[in-house]
Symmetry: D2
Subunit: 307 residues, 4 copies
């Protein structure tokens, strides 16, 4: 630091600093039919393996006949080398007995993420900025757009930009081109204001979670030109919703939402500006929660382990 007079109050927030120790060695994620003894079995197994639980969240959709979800972070010597062996032992000793879907994700293991975008840049720019700062635990493998406008925002960050136009009447061809690029190459896809509806067939063949962001109001204004119509009703709050994409447009499980207060004197253009500010924050939060394995889909809704 050059100057002696540098203000000291934010010392705790210096961009550089001593590396913090890894907060955990691995994460264990579980979903299974609820029944007595799950926590005892899982925690007993981890204890015997020499693991120490540092954080744990659980949720049961119903004590009787419901589904049980668990997210546990633990520290354990010998990781990541012992990860594969641990996975096998867990499957043999615990997972099979309780019909568990489970996953062990080692610290530092990054999900592969693609971003789809059309011409609005606010969500894309914000995700790239956070990613470069290390706020998003992902490897961004590609940005795909049906326009060529935003190439210059993407390539300087060292990310490949694919232009896959969607020509009139040729959406299946475009979706096929995107599948060729993405299938098997990504763990999650983020729609950062991608303005094309994705077909159910595309979603199924892609086979990974897709996260979308869209504006929201109280009440909802479906259809065209929502900001103008919201303004005509004198809406006082403008919001955004991030959700997993399903074949039903804008109907998938909600991950995150937020709102901002607006006033009658603001034009539709100003409302859109407010909307953009909310959209980029809500999408970034949703993506970070997903990458942190904090979001669990339970039917039409999500369980978000935030505490």
């Amino acid at each position: 630091m050059a100057g002696s007079g540098e203000i000291t109050y934010p010392l705790g927030a210096q961009p550089a600093g001593a590396p913090e120790p890894p907060p955990y060695s691995a994460r264990l994620l579980i979903g299974c039919p609820d029944r007595p003894g799950i926590v005892a079995a899982v925690s007993g197994f981890l204890f015997e393996q020499g693991a120490n639980i540092v954080s744990s969240h659980q949720y049961s959709s119903d004590a009787v006949g419901g589904r049980f979800f668990l997210r546990t972070e633990f520290v354990m010597d010998g990781m990541p080398e012992r990860a594969a062996e641990l996975e096998q032992s867990f499957a043999a000793q615990v997972g099979g007995r309780f019909q568990m879907d489970f996953e062990i994700r080692r610290y530092g293991e990054r999900q592969r993420m693609a971003i789809l975008v059309s011409r609005y840049d606010h969500c894309l720019v914000d995700l790239l900025w956070r990613w470069r700062r290390g706020e998003l635990e992902a490897e961004i493998v590609a940005v795909v757009s049906n326009h060529d406008d935003l190439r210059a925002e993407v390539e300087p960050a060292g990310v490949t930009y694919h232009h896959v136009p969607v020509e009139q009447g040729r959406k299946p061809e475009a979706e096929q081109a995107m599948l060729d690029l993405l299938r098997g190459e990504v763990d999650v896809v983020v729609l950062a204001r991608y303005m094309q509806i994705l077909s159910g067939d595309f979603l199924e063949r892609l086979g990974v979670p897709v996260i979308n962001i869209h504006h929201s109001f109280l009440p909802a204004f479906a259809g065209a030109d929502p900001y103008r119509r919201a303004r005509e009703r004198g809406v006082k709050l403008i919001g955004a919703t991030a959700h997993y994409v399903t074949a039903e447009l804008d109907g998938g499980p909600i991950i995150e939402q937020d709102v901002e207060r607006v006033q009658h004197s603001q034009s539709a253009t100003e409302l859109e500006r407010v909307g953009r500010d909310i959209e980029r924050v809500v999408l970034a939060r949703a993506v970070a929660l997903h990458l942190d394995d904090r979001v669990i889909v339970d039917g039409a809704r999500t369980i978000v382990f935030q505490g």
Copy 2:
């Protein structure tokens, strides 16, 4: 004050204290077709009358062909005695020339308000408490309910409680009974969780603004059992909307809205509890804004002069 050790920090907030001087003598409210010269004419008139403007808000829905709205508070010697004369002069010198709808409300002049309620007490109790504290500039002339449950909340406050049941197939008779009680006796009606739909005919014959409160979500959940359904979609924000009632159910101009964050672990019952907390605050704010003449209806929306 009895004790010497009474904490002094909130001295500025003592319940009793020296009476503040009236912040204004009267309020002038105007709506008219927008055209040049309105503000000059109004402010010139007030200056000649010896009035000093202490606050002023204006809004034009469109500079060309729009409608102009003004809310002005002024101090002026000789009020309230001169109010009638001032009104006549204003009509003759300014109001007629600009085709104004206008109203002069003297300081301390209270609107007559009725509250309609069914069996939920949270909005009613909150409005009565605020009213007793002097937060609502109204005279509450009656509480009307289709149930007899809440009489004990109302009568100790010195307010008359009317039980007007709505029997199956006999809603017109119930609406007539309410009209007999209220028509000409009230300036505004507040639906504090009144669970009957009011007919367009009733609203028209009543002839005064009616304010309603209802829950809101992002996105909307119309129909039965909204909290359960919102929970099934994993909604992260629960809100409430206060609006003027029109013949179109829940479609009138919005006065005020707010939301609260919720989590997957909260039961539908807990979401309702959160909803109640928002509803009472949003309704109270909307009623206070209305009584303070800060809400102007412009077509399907409101202009709220809050700044």
Copy 3:
């Protein structure tokens, strides 16, 4: 319900309805030095006893040398009859081994609460209203005030009102009178705008948690007349903080906080009104969290298990 036309959309929110089954049989609360094996031991014990965990929150202040906190709700046949036996077994088999402070609270077991108040009624009225509705899992055993003003708010709710004046130079006598009333009779005390500073000696001899509410701003305005001074700095947010009381005035562990946006045009009186609205909500949330055993004090701060 009398009327056929009763609006059906809030059906899920009817005041009366089929009683829900108890969501849990008992709660287990634990604090102990962190070390491997705690969760395995606790969950193993509960499983052997036939208990099914329905919710569980844990927190470790530090994986190495920190303190571990757990809050678990479980269903188990034979409760509440088996509670004492369960407590003994747990102490013998688990608690002692891990040097645990622990508590088992049966479903429906209510903490005894006293409210201290001076002359502002907003927090008191709100707590009493929530309590009558069943939102607060407590038995209110007394309201104590250094003034006699609020008796009429309290006695109709069936709660005893004690007037303990604090005369100049005689605060020790007043504190002794309050100790005579409260010591051994209450599990928690809530200061609902009680404007006397309680001595460290009083707090120690009382021996139960005391929750206080006070206004907060960004930045803080310590000392007299804070709303006027906040207004003079043009503060844009007004807030409130609920915290546990320690001998250091307003310095105890924070339980809950919230803020509301304000504007330059609002008078100090209006800011106080906004402040009251926040205070009552923040205090009510803090009290509910405390009664629900969701707040754990860890040194100068709290762990709040909300998710």
Copy 4:
């Protein structure tokens, strides 16, 4: 637009579109001792000049002996050519009589802005992004930093980057170097996390408003390492305050504030991340309000005309 299937709902928010007509021709900003007749004189003058007022905000710090502030936007033929003449006429006919400080700013006239920054990039990047999108009505004439780290963020946007290091014991020289760059060249300076304290002498010689951003909490944590200390007190809200800089550190008039909710489980690093998100939004709002001439300094506080 390439694809026929482009989702149409956000049509109103397309990046490109028909140019909107200018919303006003010029802005008139006034501050003067309050006395009767000001609004009449100003609006009479504008009417005679053929101007039509499209928006107007006023505030009087006290009806008796206070200061009066006005912000008016009007449309008028012949602008901007007639601006100088209008200014002279206004001074002669109205300004002098009421001892007014006033300013007429024509539509499209942009303030010259410099940004000072150290090594945190979040506020800088956000301001540059908004500026490139046209959200900030300014000409950014320079970015000045005491470090050379952020040059690559700035120069691609076509903005000059000046590295003015602050060497130990040589702050006066650094301030002089900055004065040489900025004095007379800028209308406003924004400290986008500039970590050097500016001397009162520098501020005085610079002679234009300086806007700063810093973190805020309830209660305040002055001094070093605030996030760690806030976490140790279990603070539930993290905030940021944008204010005009005065010689008193962090004590200048507040322009804008906001907060975000946090939890006990978030590390100090995560709290800083939340803090960054609030800081950039609060600073951007404050800068936009300032550039839009909506912020008026009245002693130690601001009047913000937002409605």
